[in-house]
Structures are given as C-alpha cells and as structure tokens.
Symmetry: C2
Subunit: 578 residues, 2 copies
C-alpha cells in the first residue's frame, strides 16, 4: 500500500541551519509520516540493532539529536502532528520511547542501549509539570536508556568554536539530567582541561566525559591525565578545523595534531616519530607555527636543529592574532610547542635573528628550511580592477599593518575577500575599540567560509553587537579622497562609502625572497655542504595555521626518508564475497 | 631543492566564481610557480600522456579551460609573471604550447593530441596583431593541436541554463577558430536541435558537435538523428539539474531522462523497458510530470493505463511555470511525453476528471497511482513565528494563487525560503509586469540553491535589471496592515517594508487527501480488486520536476518486479593486484 522515500514528520522546509545557505537536498521536501512509515521506522531500527549486536557492538544508540528524525518529533515547530505522536510532551516523546523499546528487545540484553538527545530547545521551553520540557522528556524516559548521552541542538552551539564558547559550555543545558535518572550520563563540550572534567564529575553534572575534539588534538589525553603528565597534553584550541573537514568531506585535519587522519595513510603516530636517519643538522628560518612544529618534530627525531626567528620572540602570526577577540585559546599552538621544545637540548632557538642569504650559507647546515611566512597584499578581488599603484595610497592597510600598530582613522572599511576568520575578527576588534566600521565582502555572508567551522551565525551576531555595518555581495573597485566605491558582485551597480582607512583582508603572498636568493646560489650551497633548501608553511603556500603546522610536521617526518615511502596509502576495498 | 604542494601562477585568491560563496579550499592559497614547478608540470603531463597511451586511449587532452592551471597562464589578471611565461600573449601562451609539445612527444603519434581552451575572456580583449587576444592565441598555436576543443570560461556562461542562454550560445565567441587552423574544431553549447547542429557545421563554425547535456537527456540522440526520428528525441530542457548533481557529488540526475545514472545501478535503459509481467490495469490520478512519465513507461511495458487529470489539460505545474521568464524550454517535459503517448493505444487520458475516492473504488483498476502533486503553503520559515491563522490575511499569496490568476497589489514582497528557481522567477515576472517588487530571503543570495545549477549570477542580474529590490539574510516575521516585518536571520534586528501583496515561496505540502481517504478504506479496495494505492512525485514528497519524473518512472519500472531486484547495485572494487 505504501512506498517510502525520505520521510520525516511535518516539517515545512529544509530544517537544518545550513538550509539558510543552500538547500543541500536539491529541493526535495519531507512529507508527514503516516502510521505505516512509523511502523517501518521501528522495524528498521530493530533490524539495525540486531545486526549491530551480531557484529559485536557493545552499545547501540537511539539518536534523537541535532535534526535527526526522532529529534524532529520532540519539537512542536517541526512536529505538528494531530495523532498520538504530536501535541503534548508525552506524545512528542513517544517515538523515542518506542525506538528505545524495540532496540532493547532486539539486543536482548546483549548490548547497552544508549540515547543521544539534544536538550537545548526543550530546556528553553517551560514545562507544564517541571521547570522545562527538557525535564519532562528526561523524566518520562527516566531509566529506559542504559546510558544518557546529552547534548545541544545545532552544530554552532553543540560544537562551538572557542571563539564564541568556553569549554564545558553545555553544562547550563544538561546539568539537571543526573537528578532525574539512575542511569549514567555522558556529555561533551570541548573539554580540554582535566580540572573542568573532574569538576563536572565531582559536582554530579556528568558521570562520563565525552571529548571528541580534544581527542583529535591529543589521542593520548586520558593516558596523559592518568600519568599526571598534564603539561604534555596537546590541548584542543577550538578552531573547528576538524569540523570543517567533516563538512567538506575531506580527511580530518587538526591545527594542533598534524598526525590525525595520517596514522594509516602515512604511518604517522601522534606521540612517536622515527629517529634521525643521519647526522644532518637543520637550520630553520622562521619561528611561526610551521617552523616551530618542524623544529619540535625534527628535535624529537634527534636532529641538530637551529631555529632563527627575526622577531624578538617566536610565534609568527599567532603573536598578533591571539590578541584579537575570542582567539586567545589559539595561543596553545605556540605555548605547547614552546613548552615541549624546552626539553630538547638539541634544538637551539635564536630570537631577534633575521638571517641574510650570506649568513645562511656561512652557517652551512646540512639542510635549510625556509619558514618565513606570508604577507597580506594590497590587492583587490580582481587585481586588474585597480592599477597596482593606486592602492599604495595612504589609508590602505593590511592585517600586517595593524599587527605592526599602524593607526586607523574613522570611518574604517574592512574589505574581506579572504572569507575565513580574520576579516570578521578585525572588524569586530576595531569596532569594539570604538571605531566606526563597515565590513564589505563579495560573499553573501560575513566570514563566509566559517560556515564550515560552525562560526558563521555567531560571527554575524558579534559584528552586529559591535555595531559593524554589513555590506555583502560587494566588491571594492576604487578608493581615494576618503571615498571607497563598492560594486555589486553580480550587477556591478555602484555605491560609495566614506572611508579614511581601508583594511584589505584578501590575498596573501609568501615571504620567499630568502628562498629565491638561495635558490640562485646553488654552487655556493654545494660548496658550503648545504644539501637542500626547502620552503614550508606560508612561505611555501599561504594557508591557515593548520596547513602551516602540517607542512612543518611533514618536512620533519620525511627528512632522510626513502622516497618510495613518501606516497600515502589509499583504501582498496576487498572484493565482495561471492 | 624544492617541494611542491598545490601550485598555480600568481593568483591572489580563490579564483573560481564559487569562491564568492565559500572558499572551498579551506583557505590555502596558491603560490607563484618557479622554473622547477614548470618543469615538473611538463614532466607530469608527459608521464600522464604515456600512461594514457599505454592504457589504449585514442585522444590525449591538454586542458587550458575554465580555471585549470594552463588557463590561468593565459589571462593577465591571474598571470602577473615577469618571466618568459608572462606579459605578452606569446609569453602567456607558452605553457600551453609546451604542454602540447611534450604531449605529442610522449604519445609518439599513437594518439591525437587535443587542446581544450576557453576563449571568452581572451575574445573580449583587443589584440595587438589581430581582432582579439583569442585570435592571437589560436593563431600562435594554429595546427599544433590535432583537435581544437573550444569553449567559454566559467560554468555559468560555458554551461548556462536555458533560462538565460539559447542553444549554440558559444558561437559568437568561437566562430573564428576554423579560419585560423586546418585542424578540426569541436565545440559545445547545449545543442538540442539537429537544425542548429547542421547549421553550425554547414556555416563552417564547427566540424564536430559536442553535446554533453543533450546526450544525458537522450543518449540515443545521434542514432535518432541518423534514423530521421527527430520527433522521438528527448530534448534537453537546459535546467542544469545534471550539473547540480556534479556540484553536489551525487549520482547524475536528468529531468528529461530518469534512467541516467541508473543504467548499471538499477539496470534501467533509456530506450528499452521490460514488458508487463501481469495483465494488471493501472489508474493514475494526476497528469503532471510524475503521472505522465508513469503513464508513458507503464504504457510502453504494455499495461492498460488510465490517466485522470482534474484540470482541463495535462501538464500539472508545468502549465503555469513554463509561461514564466526563461522557462519555456521546460515545456519539453510535457511536449515530448504528450507526443510519445499519442502512439500508445493502451493509455487513455481523461482530462477534466477530478476523481473522488468513491469513483476510484468504482473503477476498480488493479493498481492505483496517486500523482496529485503538491501545494505551496502559507507558512513562514519557522512555522511557530506566526500563529497559523494570521497568514490567512488577504494579500498573502502563494505561487498556486498566482497560477490561478490571483491579482497582486503594489508594493509586492516575494518571500523566498524555497531557495530554488521559483521565487526568483516570480519576482522577475511580476517586476517585468510593472509591479513594484521586493525580494526577501533568509539566504545570502537570491535563489541560493541555483549556485548548483549555474544560474545564480544571472538570477541576480535578472532581478537587478527588472528593478527588484533585494533583501538577503532576512526572514519575514510578521505581516499586517500593509506592512511586512523582516528580521535579520542571525541577529533578529527588525526592519519594515510597505507591502500590499506578500507572496510566500517556501514550504510545500503533498496533495494527499485522496490517498489518505483511500488508505482508510482497505476493505473496499480489496473488494474492488484494487491491490495497491501508491503515491508518486510531489504527492509522495514535494520536490523538483526531476524528482517527480524519476518517481513516476521508478513506479513503472518496479511494478510486478521481483522484490529481490529492487535494491540498487553498488560499486565493490576488486582487490588491488598484489
């Protein structure tokens, strides 16, 4: 009688928060589930649970979180049913109860049955018999799950960046659950500090600590806590690059842990690295994220490493960026490496040392690594739109100028076609500092790429609360005499804004002058015994901090390696059994 | 001396037109290629060409189109080199010449070497020695490629939807190529009519016709032309759903040809279908895209089919939508099926027949298919934001009301959270009809999903040229007394617009009343010999036309099929040779 395709309770449109950007489902809509659909769902859950049991799993989940089908039954904005599954809280929770029951029945006590549930929206809704509907839902299900796995509702709040939420940020939403059930409760919330974890357990908020992002940053987190090696924990910085990898369907990456996702592909281990395969010495020029990771990993291998940093301290771009709103936790990239390097007597760091090509040749190390970073360019979205010279006008600034303390004059226009975090952060920073701010971007959103890192809604709110005026779908096409001209990205219709300081956050170019100079002196390099000069990080190809750390680590992994081992392994699934 | 990762000529930012939305590369930037990189590129091209030759290919391409690396050398906005590969046209084309030369050398006359090149931007740039730089580039390479494959530069112009470009739209850009080379020239441009193809060949524009989208719509296009069966050609409608599949990394779909991508997975053939496996008769209620495709494919199988359409003619939503700006070619979905159905004496179509449940039971067909479509809802983005009743106010309209001829009063607000084509098309239609128009959407762009179908830039231009005022990142939260209230999608900051007609293009609900009524009368159905009642198309789950056609076709393919054959096959790669 019935054919099913994608089914869902009555939901008027693409329901995910991403639907505001692009309806990823090619416009096909859900329909109201009828009683056949509901029975089919319960049958399918039971069959899946039986397969999981047969496959040897210990825990089988019912998932009522983050927009998944059972979650949509819980909230009246999506669930507008008039039958036994809609209306009252008892009705809206019915499908979750039935899913738990059929799962219990299917696994016959051989597996624990866990419930993962989002409670943020329900907690915000006053209940009839309890402080909130979240209390009512948990009270109705009580001890039915063997494990309560409690969380928030949408990616930007459930899995927020450190820029907009502290660790343990779920507590105000989920703190009541243990009071209503005898079963253990697990939760997440980017726990990075053992103190916070212990505190939540001691105070009866959670029984078990869930930590996905912190375990990506440091898979040995529990062992280091157990061994009292807190200082060695490579703490998650909450940048959400890991999540962006997931949104982008690419292998996971982590700013702190360059080995993640490469354990099998490249044979990299988060704690162990092969010993040096030669007595080579390595000179690293530049102590930003790439140079530091490279020095640390080469040092661990046992190479003699000298790191020369032109500035008066190491850190590179981190030294400025971690002073910007919400980015202080990113300083862990520097702090952890600085701490670890202190234990390595074979790595020498020379601050305030800007090396010339002559000096590099004189030092005569076996290998030279150029980690001199990149600079932001005074170029527009299309570099032909303004003759190169005219952007040299006073008042045109880059993030590098702001880092160096250049003054800005109101009104300020931040023109962002980088589309990652920095343009939005700088606009927020300057506006909070009292400046009159316009943020201009050719994209449809502020910091458009941060949709990938769960930040974009909060970026918009932060800019709004700081009083920044937003101009999307706009390119800057001319600047002079205190006026910036904007052209609509599609129609080229022009508008103008008063502007005394134009901050361009767009193109970046590698600082590769030293590399270029050395590359032209190969005979001298040979004579000095220098066998290679290699760019890493932004000096190779400007990127995010995650790319710089990865690049530095990869150099260290691959030095003196057999070239045949330098390709990565790929999945080659076995033939299907006949 | 050198390590390469992603490399490119000097290019200041994400260069693709999609970069205005999201920088898909996670913010890692290209760098300037040095001479080592260029030599490596040539080596890699030669090695790839040798492998292609060994693998038995007949043609090996050099690809200098659409943002690919050699293309970026051709244009001074990306190529700002000061060496032998930048500056003059002869220098900018050098890398393409060298790639062709190493490819020729590598294949040693065993394969033809083709050049695919984008000429739109070059043609717009006056040359020093010829009418345009495109003439200069082609003149410099002349007979070096064995085949010229010429095209436009960016997806929205190279591969435009029928809404914004006629077939053969490349001609004004590529018409000169044959005058400068003795080698054959192939080109594309959504050729759907044999007359256009013949005309271009006869007039010396092209030697060979390239047709990707038309071959997706009808893989037997060349054979049908050769056999003089023009009326049987399932012509591409230019909706670009195929391209959206590619952008979305999902199996290809086609509004006209539901079998595409299912040849192996489900064993569907674009021209052949299994004969009827029973003497069943089928009643189809509704003659829109789903019902028509279902009737046609069931008819081809040999079933006795009755199709009852409530309106005075078949076509469903197509009857209104094909009258809107740019959508007339979509009428081919109806026209082709209408023409094919005329040859099937076992399919009877009853127009002006709105069947009741009683009548369906009385008719007593073996199977009943409900293809009654969907309706647009008077609901906002979050259905809790306005009590359901208040949108019943006069002046609130849906696309269905406009299709029925409801009058609109200025100023008009089109509120689009559907995000596919219809909201934008209706706004354009009403504005061109002289109405004062505001287009409001929670997304960052107008018709946000059309980024997937290569339409979005042109949608923005069309709305602008029609005088539509654009309000992005905005939800409608209240309406009354001639005023609509907008809230910023992220900050909820409110603004107001004068509005006498509010057209909501958002949620859709299935017209499933007939199905619900029949489903409740199973005893009567049994007594009448009705073995199944099945929803298809929008009546099952509202979607785009492509989904409706697919749904109707799938029903026809699967009627009376062995249930064991109804899953689709998946790739299971062989084990890698040891």
């Amino acid at each position: 009688m019935n054919r099913t395709s994608r089914i869902a309770p009555l939901s008027p449109s693409g329901t995910s928060w991403m639907a505001t950007h692009v309806n990823f489902m090619g416009n096909q809509r859900p329909r109201v589930m009828d009683s056949h659909d509901i029975r089919a769902l319960l049958r399918q859950q039971a069959a899946a649970a039986r397969r999981a049991r047969q496959a040897g799993f210990d825990i089988v989940y019912v998932y009522a979180g983050m927009g998944y089908l059972p979650y949509e039954f819980l909230l009246p904005e999506w669930n507008r049913r008039a039958d036994a599954y809609g209306g009252s809280v008892a009705n809206r929770v019915r499908i979750v109860r039935e899913l738990l029951e059929v799962t219990h029945e299917a696994v016959q006590g051989k597996c624990a049955v866990a419930l993962r549930i989002s409670l943020e929206e329900l907690r915000a809704r006053p209940g009839e018999t309890a402080p909130s509907e979240a209390h009512e839902v948990v009270g109705l299900l009580k001890d039915l799950p063997d494990l309560w796995d409690v969380k928030l509702d949408s990616s930007p709040t459930d899995c927020p960046p450190s820029r907009f939420a502290p660790e343990g940020s779920h507590e105000p939403v989920i703190d009541f659950v243990k009071q209503l059930t005898h079963k253990p409760v697990v939760g997440v919330g980017r726990f990075t500090s053992p103190d916070t974890m212990v505190s939540q357990v001691r105070r009866g908020v959670l029984d078990l600590i869930g930590a996905a992002r912190p375990s990506i940053a440091d898979p040995f987190l529990p062992e280091k806590i157990a061994a009292g090696r807190e200082a060695d924990i490579r703490e998650c910085i909450g940048c959400n690059i890991c999540i962006s990898s997931w949104h982008d369907s690419v292998p996971v990456r982590c700013t702190q842990n360059p080995t993640i996702g490469e354990e099998w592909r490249r044979g990299w281990h988060p704690e162990r690295i092969a010993p040096a395969a030669s007595a080579a010495s390595v000179l690293i020029v530049g102590g930003g994220p790439a140079g530091l990771e490279c020095a640390l990993s080469l040092g661990r291998r046992g190479y003699q490493v000298s790191l020369a940093e032109a500035a008066d301290d190491i850190g590179g771009r981190l030294r400025f960026e971690t002073r910007l709103p919400g980015l202080s936790a990113w300083g862990r990239v520097l702090d952890w490496r600085r701490g670890q390097l202190e234990h390595l007597s074979n790595v020498a760091i020379y601050r305030g040392n800007r090396l010339s090509a002559d000096e590099v040749v004189e030092l005569g190390n076996t290998h030279v690594v150029i980690a001199t970073g990149a600079r932001w360019a005074k170029l527009l979205y299309s570099p032909l739109e303004i003759p190169a010279g005219s952007l040299a006008a006073p008042g045109v600034l880059t993030p590098d100028d702001l880092a160096a303390g250049a003054p800005v004059t109101d009104p300020v226009v931040v023109y962002d076609f980088d589309n990652y975090y920095l343009g939005g952060v700088l606009a927020e920073h300057l506006a909070r500092g009292g400046h009159s701010l316009h943020y201009v971007t050719p994209a449809g959103h502020a910091s458009a790429w941060t949709i990938m890192s769960n930040e974009q809604p909060q970026v918009h709110r932060a800019l709004f609360s700081a009083g920044v005026a937003l101009h999307t779908l706009s390119r800057v096409t001319a600047y002079g005499d205190g006026v910036v001209t904007l052209a609509n990205q599609f129609t080229n219709a022009e508008t103008q804004l008063e502007c005394r300081s134009l901050v361009i956050v767009g193109a970046r170019f590698a600082n590769d002058a030293l590399h270029t100079e050395l590359a032209a002196r190969s005979a001298e390099l040979d004579a000095a015994g220098i066998r290679s000069v290699t760019r890493i990080g932004d000096a190779l190809a400007p990127g995010a901090i995650v790319h710089a750390v990865y690049s530095g680590h990869r150099y260290a992994q691959e030095l003196d390696a057999d070239p045949a081992t330098l390709t990565f392994r790929r999945d080659a699934p076995l033939a299907r059994p006949a």
